[in-house]
């Protein structure tokens, strides 16, 4: 089975966001970058599928040189091959999907995370699938493959959905699917000297422009009360009369 896992490098979740001088992106000074947490589930699933069906796992990321770091993590976890598609600007999501589709053209299955925690687009999997003219299933929390038949259990609003599709396909995965392994120290050391293949980005024109980035303004009322009976009664009144929320 030819398995391609798409991984992205994102700021650590505890990052304090400040806006860069251009007013359009976050300032990367002092920001710690990590492997997108959901992509750990994607890598783990790829490795488990290889253990069951044989074949190879390729990890692919679209990003700048610093993204090699997450490819090293993927190598330490056990992928066979790591590919960096060089794109310092990290275009828009269409540009990313276009590059990923090229990289996954020969794949039997492309596995992505359910969302990358920087821009939270939730759309790369479906977009990549459409570019490859393949079926897809998103937010997969259970997966079974029998021959070319794929059955995926997906999280939807208010429940779960079972989707039947067939290989080749694209899936995005969710917590609950597996328990990602921790790379062992010797494997981390070995990964440092493994090759990373570099490819040029297809460089498609961006389809969405960022005009500006701002920090959310707090327009909260911010009334803090005590816990006496009168305070509780006052909260009820405020919710009812001031906020008209009940």
């Amino acid at each position: 089975m030819n398995i391609v896992v798409c991984i992205s490098q994102v700021p650590d979740t505890t990052t304090k966001v400040t806006v860069a001088p251009d007013g359009k992106k976050i300032s990367s000074a002092g920001v710690k970058f990590i492997l997108n947490p959901y992509d750990e589930f994607a890598l783990e699933e790829g490795l488990q599928l290889r253990a069951k069906y044989g074949g190879s796992v390729t990890a692919v990321t679209v990003g700048g040189d610093s993204a090699k770091e997450i490819l090293r993590t993927a190598l330490a976890m056990g992928v066979d091959k790591a590919v960096l598609i060089k794109d310092d600007e990290r275009a828009d999501s269409f540009g990313v999907a276009h590059n990923l589709a090229e990289a996954a053209r020969e794949a039997d299955i492309a596995i992505l995370g359910r969302q990358s925690i920087d821009f939270d687009s939730y759309g790369t999997a479906a977009m990549t699938a459409e570019l490859l003219n393949l079926p897809s299933a998103s937010m997969v929390s259970k997966l079974s493959i029998d021959g070319t038949k794929v059955v995926a259990e997906c999280d939807i609003d208010g429940g779960k959905e079972t989707i039947e599709l067939s290989l080749p396909c694209v899936i995005s995965v969710q917590k609950g699917l597996n328990e990602p392994r921790y790379p062992k120290l010797p494997d981390i050391m070995k990964a440092k000297s493994k090759p990373i293949e570099e490819r040029a980005s297809a460089g498609v024109a961006p389809r969405v422009r960022t005009l500006s980035m701002e920090l959310p303004k707090s327009s909260r009322i911010g009334k803090v009360l005590g816990d006496s009976d009168a305070d509780i009664q006052e909260l009820v009144r405020l919710l009812h009369e001031e906020a008209k929320a009940i």
Binding site: Y122, A126, P135, K160, L235
Partner: protein
């Protein structure tokens, strides 16, 4: 004339609330708005007239009954071309998130997911959307001729305004090859209102001390007709199911009223609920970060405050 095609979804004999919100958001831009319903009958569309929709395409094809996102995407893209739409809009619910990126690829369109505001400016639309788990807001604009935008549920309030609606049948071309992925089963979290569909959410955190104390959260939710939510700490502790978890690794919600009870307000929790309209925090630590995003706060012990608050609300609401 600039046109927006809005993808509508049925619920029972009417439309989903998120679809009515999408109609409102689209009409508010001043564009001509055309609806597209692919999963229902003409009766389902009628309610949309009350929200200002003047025209709706009713897609008819036997294969639309197959619940398949490539099929829906194909029907939407065809309707967009047919109506010469400049924008296609849909709700950013689980269905919309799956279909919209495909529509964008088919139409060679720029795609903006999860918009929280729209503004029309010089013949195009500028959308705001959260990034970095709501820690930043970006203003974005589509640079292609056609654009696809999904709208975060519960952020745009559906507004009534009258219009007279004409419904036109539309027959997309769909072949069995388009199906490729089909939904074969759905299990809803029966009996309980899901956080992603609730207008009021009462969430509990580790401050509750024990799983048994969740009955305090449930009673308050019941009085308000709301859903029960949870922080990750209580889900990880096994007190509550993951389907209730709110935050970066759980669900993103924007109810009109959100109660955070015994929740510290970690950034990953805020990521899932900071666009709620009114936030109430109850915490015994006056310095807890949750108070920084709260509209109303009570500094106190939840185990004592919750029963009193529930009772006071019961009295007020039964009046």
């Amino acid at each position: 004339m600039s046109t927006i095609l809005v993808y509508l979804e049925s619920q029972g004999n009417g439309l989903k609330r998120s679809s009515l919100e999408a109609i409102t958001a689209a009409v508010d831009t001043g564009y001509t708005v055309i609806g597209l319903l692919a999963d229902g009958k003409e009766e389902n569309v009628q309610a949309a007239a009350e929200y200002g929709l003047t025209k709706c395409l009713l897609a008819k094809h036997p294969l639309l009954a197959e619940k398949s996102s490539p099929v829906a995407a194909s029907a939407i893209a065809q309707a967009a071309r047919y109506s010469q739409a400049n924008y296609v809009m849909a709700s950013a619910n689980s269905n919309g998130k799956e279909i919209a990126p495909r529509v964008a690829v088919k139409l060679q369109a720029g795609y903006i997911p999860d918009a929280i505001s729209l503004e029309s400016s010089a013949g195009s639309i500028i959308a705001k959307r959260p990034a970095y788990a709501g820690k930043a807001i970006v203003s974005v604009q589509i640079s292609t001729q056609v654009g696809v935008i999904t709208l975060r549920p519960n952020v745009f309030t559906a507004k009534k305004r009258s219009a007279s609606l004409t419904v036109e049948e539309f027959s997309p071309e769909i072949t069995t090859e388009d199906i490729r992925a089909r939904v074969t089963g759905v299990s809803k979290n029966e009996g309980r209102l899901d956080v992603s569909e609730a207008d009021i959410i009462v969430s509990g955190g580790r401050g509750l001390k024990a799983a048994e104390n969740y009955n305090l959260i449930e009673s308050l939710a019941q009085v308000l007709g709301g859903a029960v939510g949870s922080s990750r700490a209580v889900v990880d502790a096994g007190w509550r199911p993951h389907s209730e978890q709110i935050g970066q690794t759980g669900k993103t919600v924007s109810p009109s009223l959100y109660f955070a009870c015994g929740i510290s307000g970690a950034i990953q929790h805020l990521a899932g609920m900071s666009t709620s309209k009114i936030i109430v925090a109850i915490n015994k630590d006056k310095d807890a970060p949750i108070f920084k995003v709260a509209d109303y706060g009570i500094v106190g012990d939840i185990l004592e405050v919750l029963p009193k608050l529930t009772e006071a609300l019961r009295r007020t609401l039964n009046k």
